[in-house]
């Protein structure tokens, strides 16, 4: 069976191990489904290549933090202590770009480019995904050269502290 990524339209040549191992038929919908780790269970009609799955996961985690900033009082209060800061995140291994704005009580994000960011990161999307998931340290990525930072690095440290706090709070409130 040829699989086509519903994200980028490319034919899928290699399957992520966890997905290939988890392909099963849903008796209720009568559709093939795959458990794509952080992308969750998806229909075969929405199948993504590993590349698109990583991008989707990055945006999903960021959107979780965005929602948390409007729903969780502690996170909102902490974000109120900062002036607005914009971080542009670019990936050297694809044209995937996104931005995050934090401060003034909010955490906002979207795909694409934001003008005049205070800081710009250049980082492989896989590394960014693992940082957001808390599986690797941003500091290790910085020191091994995977993460490049343009701008005042103290705000990069603040950003990583904010996502760490958001992840902690998210787990405490029973989020994904």
């Amino acid at each position: 069976m040829n699989l086509t990524c519903t994200g980028c339209g490319n034919e899928i040549e290699t399957l992520p191990i966890q997905c290939a191992h988890s392909l099963s038929k849903n008796p209720e919908t009568n559709q093939m489904e795959c458990y794509m780790e952080n992308c969750g269970v998806i229909s075969i009609n929405e199948y993504l290549c590993e590349n698109c799955c990583t991008k989707r996961n990055i945006m999903k985690l960021n959107k979780t933090f965005e929602r948390l900033s409007s729903e969780n009082e502690e996170f909102k209060e902490e974000l109120a202590f900062f002036d607005k800061n914009v971080i542009q995140i670019n990936t050297p291994d694809s044209d995937f770009k996104f931005w995050v704005e934090f401060g003034n009580g909010a955490y906002l994000c979207d795909k694409g480019i934001k003008d005049n960011p205070q800081i710009t990161f250049t980082i492989p999307k896989k590394s960014m995904n693992l940082i957001l998931e808390g599986k690797i340290s941003p500091y290790s990525e910085f020191f091994n050269g995977n993460l490049k930072i343009e701008g005042d690095r103290q705000y990069a440290i603040v950003y990583f502290d904010i996502i760490k706090l958001a992840s902690e709070i998210n787990k405490e409130v029973g989020g994904v």
């Binding site: 500091y139 603040v158 502290d161």
Partner: protein, 249 residues
């Protein structure tokens, strides 16, 4: 019982423009015990306080070390203030009895700070720290300074590359040889076991980077042998002082 010493990062941290006279004044009004800042040397070798190595003049990035004090003072920061000199700061806050912690980039900066502090009788009010982004061995970084002054307080900010800080990362032999008094770690790598270990080894324990209430509470209530953590550096010193008053009666 000790109280945790509060360092205002670059003055009042994220309130106002950092490393400016007004930020230092604001921090002192907030009640900080000390100011953590970064020195740079002018062309004449005078110490000015700035994080940045260069200033953008006529669309060109010019190294501070190539500028005279007169040229540096002409440069306006985003709040329209000039970059302060160390002399101006020592003179302005002479009566406030605060301490200064400098993240130095090289021995020359450290020695020039000591010389200036000696003129004002403030050597016991200064600390010189190896930045946490530097991987140079302590021996290479501090020997010249220690040879210049036997008593100045030296601090080892541990490189925040390691996922877990072990004894080998602390360079204990050189810490003792160079009489380095304290260890400064990012809060992400600080924990009770490390605090206990550092205190057992006889050093002061500093934590930097604390921003959020839950971290402030965690580290302000952490005790070993009845003693709190020696010092915390923060970009939110006003919050830290408020919680210190609440948690450390």
């Amino acid at each position: 019982m000790n109280r945790t010493f509060v360092w205002g990062h670059r003055g009042a941290g994220f309130k106002g423009t950092q490393n400016t006279f007004s930020s230092f004044k604001n921090a002192i009004d907030m009640g900080v015990d000390g100011i953590k800042t970064e020195p740079k040397l002018s062309k004449e070798g005078e110490v000015v306080l700035s994080f940045f190595n260069t200033l953008k003049i006529n669309r060109e990035e010019v190294p501070i070390k190539e500028l005279t004090i007169e040229e540096i003072k002409k440069f306006k920061l985003e709040n329209s203030e000039s970059i302060p000199t160390l002399r101006e700061v020592f003179e302005a806050f002479e009566s406030n009895n605060i301490k200064y912690n400098f993240d130095i980039a090289n021995p020359e900066e450290g020695i020039q700070i000591i010389k200036t502090a000696k003129e004002y009788g403030l050597v016991d009010h200064i600390e010189l720290a190896k930045p946490s982004t530097r991987s140079d061995p302590l021996n290479d970084f501090f020997t010249e300074i220690r040879n210049f002054d036997k008593n100045v307080m030296l601090i080892n900010s541990v490189l925040y590359k390691h996922l877990e800080i072990e004894d080998k990362h602390l360079e204990l032999e050189d810490m003792r040889k160079l009489n380095i008094k304290g260890i400064n770690v990012n809060y992400n790598f600080a924990n009770y076991d490390l605090f206990k270990r550092v205190k057992e080894l006889g050093f002061k324990f500093y934590v930097w980077g604390i921003l959020f209430k839950r971290q402030m509470k965690k580290f302000l209530t952490m005790k070993y042998n009845g003693e709190y953590i020696d010092a915390i550096m923060s970009n939110q010193p006003d919050r830290l002082i408020k919680f210190r008053d609440e948690f450390q009666n």
